[in-house]
């Protein structure tokens, strides 16, 4: 009874109802969508970890990167429980995949899970397993693996013998997994490590997920603004009804309960819709997220979404929590409302200067916290805490700063209409401030993330040009072919620069040591961000090594320091090079030294310098008989790298647009719910001789001015955000630091978008005002009696 009386309000105010539902739906959708993405990715890491690292089984590595198979037999016969693994990259179809060879008989249980219910005999005689997505990508090949969800995307799991044959590693193994107690003492030439565990991958990708979560939380908060304003208004508008119901004898308890039930009903409806929408959104974004994670971290994430009931429950819970948060204030006020409180909306009333002072105090405290975190904090969490504090401070400052700007403008204004315009805008700030805060945050996030991405892109393209100087790169099928190719090419081209690498632990981090031939190609082009004088001569003279920026920043190692390389002991660091897009530590030593440290390491790739790439290519294909897929030319490589880059930040762009849209919707909701109130304020002006059209125009102009001012405020906040992302978050998350670059054209575009969003949000109320003509305004006077 009570409930139906309450609900009838919504039937008459369908727009308000829509706002509550849309706001809550969007908030739930964005939040739970992001959660679904995170959960999917984390699940994939766990799969990868179970297969590759055997639920954390320790690993025995040889100092030289590989070891003869006899070593495995020798250890087993000595009672050391180890299982051999052969790992390498191969081209299947025209896709590069990781070929993972295991011995199912000695492998830890995790690996065997991939073969559950499988055909052991088939596996031992060459059949493999791969994730369905990998299968889709590689298409039909000689090796046609069976589908298995337990294998990470991008990996083909085969028997160790099959892998050895395919990789040209007969009699060789990559490393051993320890399935029993560690041998004491450790056999010569072997090192125990805990590499590439799922925890490690999760650690690397944590920042990315934290990022997504932050976006989700931001969107959720912005969505709650919408709900809060709509529920608040509905409450005010129903004060009269509450009063009537109370006078009719409905107890306060049952009235409050009825309102709570109403709110729960909304939460349920919107929560379900939000889950559906969130699922769709996550499914649409997942391929890009997966591509990002693969591109940035090599994390194998499948591109298809799985549904989880836990996720759905959590999403619903968030919807209920959100509804409670947004509607709690209204319930509280109802509980404390005297029976005969006046129906006039006083609670929407103005601007207590007191609230503003509290906001400024809060902003000051948060800003101080942000500064303190910037000065003394370290680590990813501190970085994000800094961001959160600074953004919140900026959000709290939105209203005071806008109020100040409008006051100044009002002082400068001479014409009466303008004077009124500024004064009125200022007076309406409190009602709009929540939505404007949302807009400010969305804009600042856009500027910050946009600046970060654009800075990154500019640096990355520059770096690609320097790094990719070789006209073509060849991936030999095996070690023997690499040797043959080098012999074949040496007389035909200017230079053949082989790439050899061994996996290694550098300063306690997983990584690799690379060989570099002393050649002008590198001396002239290889970018360095720090170096000792005569770095290239020193490198050629085996005086030291180059390390990548990731290693330098994480371990705080710079030229003048030293790093331990397997088999070489402490080696001087001669220079540090930027190495974007690679999560692992790297060191480079000159080729000759590398070969003496790690003899027998096969060449993985050959970089070719040639004046006539077309002729070289033709020679390779026709005379040498190389498959075209083994050759990558420079343009292809660049295009590929850039494509990966662009896809990497596609998700960021998508979330930016979503956040901005939600902010615009918040504004729209606020403006629509306020439009009734505005009539009262505008009617005297109309009576005094301003036309309705003029007033509607002013309403639009006000929206634009507020958007403009908010944009101006968002600009420094956004730049601060970008600076923190580049100097703190990126360094912590990826291990590289980039210079901040300014892209005013992007800001102009964003300002345009903000203006359009604001126009879109205010257009309907303004249009309604204009179309309504004098009638609704006249009713303001008529209502007086």
């Amino acid at each position: 009874m009570t409930l139906s009386a309450l609900l009838s309000h919504w039937m008459r105010n369908k727009v308000q109802l829509a706002m509550v539902l849309v706001g809550l739906t969007l908030a739930t959708a964005l939040w739970s969508g992001v959660q679904a993405l995170n959960a999917q990715a984390r699940g994939a890491y766990a799969t990868a970890a179970a297969l590759v690292s055997e639920d954390g089984a320790p690993r025995l590595d040889s100092a030289t990167g590989q070891m003869p198979q006899a070593r495995f037999i020798e250890l087993r016969r000595a009672g050391v429980l180890v299982s051999p693994v052969v790992e390498g990259r191969v081209t299947l179809g025209d896709t590069r995949v990781t070929l993972l060879g295991i011995d199912p008989l000695t492998a830890p249980p995790g690996t065997a899970a991939a073969l559950a219910d499988g055909d052991l005999q088939g596996f031992l005689s060459g059949a493999g397993y791969a994730h369905p997505e990998t299968l889709e990508r590689i298409g039909a090949t000689d090796m046609s693996p069976a589908p298995s969800q337990a294998v990470p995307v991008g990996t083909v799991l085969v028997d160790i013998g099959t892998a050895q044959n395919a990789l040209g590693m007969t009699g060789q193994i990559s490393h051993l997994l320890l399935t029993g107690p560690a041998p004491r003492p450790m056999p010569d030439g072997l090192r125990l490590s805990q590499p590439e565990t799922g925890a490690e991958l999760a650690g690397l990708t944590d920042s990315f997920h934290l990022n997504l979560t932050a976006f989700g939380a931001l969107a959720f908060a912005v969505g709650l603004f919408i709900v809060h304003s709509a529920v608040g208004l509905a409450f005010e508008q129903r004060r009269g009804l509450f009063r009537t119901l109370r006078s009719l004898g409905v107890s306060l308890r049952s009235l409050t309960l009825a309102l709570a039930v109403e709110l729960a009903l909304f939460a349920l409806l919107a929560g379900l819709a939000g889950l559906a929408l969130g699922y769709v959104m996550a499914a649409a974004l997942l391929p890009d997220v997966a591509a990002t994670l693969r591109g940035l971290y090599g994390a194998p994430v499948p591109g298809s979404l799985q549904f989880s009931p836990v996720w759905a429950l959590a999403g619903l819970a968030m919807a209920f929590a959100g509804a409670g948060l947004a509607g709690g204030q209204a319930l509280w006020r109802l509980w404390h409302m005297p029976v005969l409180a006046p129906a006039q909306p006083r609670a929407w009333a103005m601007a207590s200067g007191r609230a503003m002072r509290w906001q400024m105090l809060g902003a000051g405290l948060l800003a101080a916290l942000a500064v303190a975190l910037g000065l003394f904090g370290s680590g990813l969490f501190a970085g994000f805490a800094l961001l959160a504090a600074a953004l919140l401070a900026a959000a709290l400052l939105t209203r005071p700063v806008l109020a100040l700007g409008l006051a100044l403008a009002a002082k400068a204004a001479r014409a009466p209409v303008l004077q009124w315009f500024w004064a009125d805008s200022r007076q309406n700030l409190p009602r709009l401030s929540l939505a404007l805060m949302a807009l400010m945050l969305a804009l600042a996030a856009n500027i910050g993330v946009g600046t970060m991405v654009a800075s990154f892109r500019a640096t990355f393209i520059d770096w690609l040009d320097q790094r990719l100087v070789a006209e073509m790169t060849i991936t030999p099928r095996d070690a023997a072919q690499a040797v043959a190719l080098e012999d074949f090419l040496a007389p035909r081209v200017q230079a053949v620069l082989p790439l050899r690498q061994v996996d290694a632990t550098l300063a306690g981090q997983p990584g690799a040591v690379f060989a570099m031939r002393d050649h002008a190609t590198f001396r002239d082009n290889w970018p360095l961000i720090a170096q000792v004088p005569g770095v290239w001569d020193g490198l050629a003279a085996e005086q030291g090594a180059l390390i990548n920026e990731q290693l330098a920043r994480r371990a705080d190692l710079w030229p003048g320091d030293s790093v331990a390389l397997p088999g070489a002991g402490e080696v001087a660091i001669l220079g540090v090079y930027p190495d974007y897009g690679n999560p692992l530590a790297q060191a480079i030593v000159t080729e000759g030294w590398f070969d003496s440290l790690y003899p027998g390491t096969p060449t993985r790739q050959l970089a070719i310098r040639t004046d006539d790439p077309a002729a070289t290519r033709a020679a390779l294909l026709d005379e040498f008989g190389l498959s075209a897929q083994a050759i990558t030319d420079q343009a292809q490589a660049k295009a590929l790298s850039l494509a990966i880059f662009e896809r990497t930040f596609l998700i960021t762009g998508a979330l930016n647009v979503l956040t901005l849209s939600v902010a615009a919707l918040a504004l729209f909701a606020t403006l629509v719910t306020l439009s009734g109130l505005r009539l009262v304020q505008l009617a005297p002006l109309w009576a005094m001789g301003l036309t309705v059209r003029h007033l509607a125009g002013l309403e639009l102009a006000r929206a634009l001015v507020l958007a403009g001012l908010t944009m101006l405020l968002a600009l420094p906040v956004g730049l601060m955000l970008a600076q923190v992302l580049l100097a703190v978050i990126n360094v912590q998350a990826f291990g590289w630091r980039l210079p901040l670059q300014i892209f005013p054209a992007d800001w102009a575009r964003l300002a345009l978008w903000a203006g359009l969003a604001m126009l879109a949000a205010s257009a309907w109320p303004a249009w309604r005002l204009w179309r309504g003509g004098g009638g609704p305004l006249l009713r303001v006077f008529a209502n007086e009696r």
């Binding site: 198979q69 495995f72 037999i73 087993r76 016969r77 000595a78 009672g79 429980l81 011995d103 199912p104 008989l105 000695t106 492998a107 249980p109 065997a112 899970a113 073969l115 559950a116 219910d117 499988g118 055909d119 052991l120 005999q121 088939g122 031992l124 005689s125 028997d159 160790i160 013998g161 099959t162 050895q164 007969t170 029993g180």
Partner: protein, 349 residues
Amino acid sequence: MNVKVLIAALLLAPAALAQGFAGLGTDADGFAVPEQGRALQFPRDHGPHPDYRIEWWYLTATLQGEDGRDYGAQWTLFRSALAPEERDGWDSPQVWMGHAGLTTPGRHFSAERFARGGIGQAGAQANPFTAWIDDWHMTSTAPDGADAYSALQIAATGPEFGYDLRMQAQGPLVRHGDDGYSVKSAAGQASYYYSQPFYTVEGTLDLPDGPVKVTGQAWLDREWSSQPLASDQTGWDWFSIVLEDGHRLMGFQLRGDQTFTAGTWITPDGDATALPDGALSFAPQGTARVAGRDVPVRWRIDWPEQGLALRTEPVNPQAWMDLTVSYWEGPITVTGSHQGRGYLEMTGY
């Protein structure tokens, strides 16, 4: 279900499971089949027979420690072939599995190992005889000219135990069934089966509380076949018993729609008499709750024709081999018409 279970199923489980395993047919796959009348040859047949589907070297020892307690030790190497041949390297279709057990009156230890043939991690060879998987091995210590099995050393380790035992044969090899051709069902499934039941043992057990010197008696079984069981057979109860008067008795029943029994009566000199289906009868006398199931750990064995009526008691009723494929295997003491010691293996419970 994982790989090892599949392998173990192949090796140990009843035929119903084994034949249900995808990709493995029966003898149409080219495996050799035991033939009646084919004489065993030594030392050749001490070594592996890769053209047969399954094979094992199975040694059980009843032991007494210096501390006066009873112990039991088991060392087994199983071979299972995916194809009737041997190839070098990872291409080898031969799969090996080792089981080691050690029973004390209070505890039972077990461990398992898996390996592929062809790479050297596991295998067996006739001359000089050795069979191994990882660091576990059974190696002949017999002087030149003597039968390889007349003196053996075995060793195995698990996470909590280990043993190193030396065996000295006090009698000849014994062929079961028809000169080594042992029928396993009424339908005619059969294997080659011979034993060395006359070992005396000495050696050391490694237990969590420290090493224990032991002496005792041991029994080696050698068996290979391509058709392990009939499809209705669900498990077996197998006994090897050394009586105080010097006689040995090997007897088993294969449980199925119709129980099939067989056995061999061995005189102290090594003369063997095959006991046909139905000659022996096995009756459970009491069960114990072991690993969540009821296992008949007390038995009565009757051979009315000979006036033999034996009762068996386990040294430790909890002798459960808690491995990828699990079963009961442990030392027993024998009373009744004769006194003695022995080993009991029960599968399919």
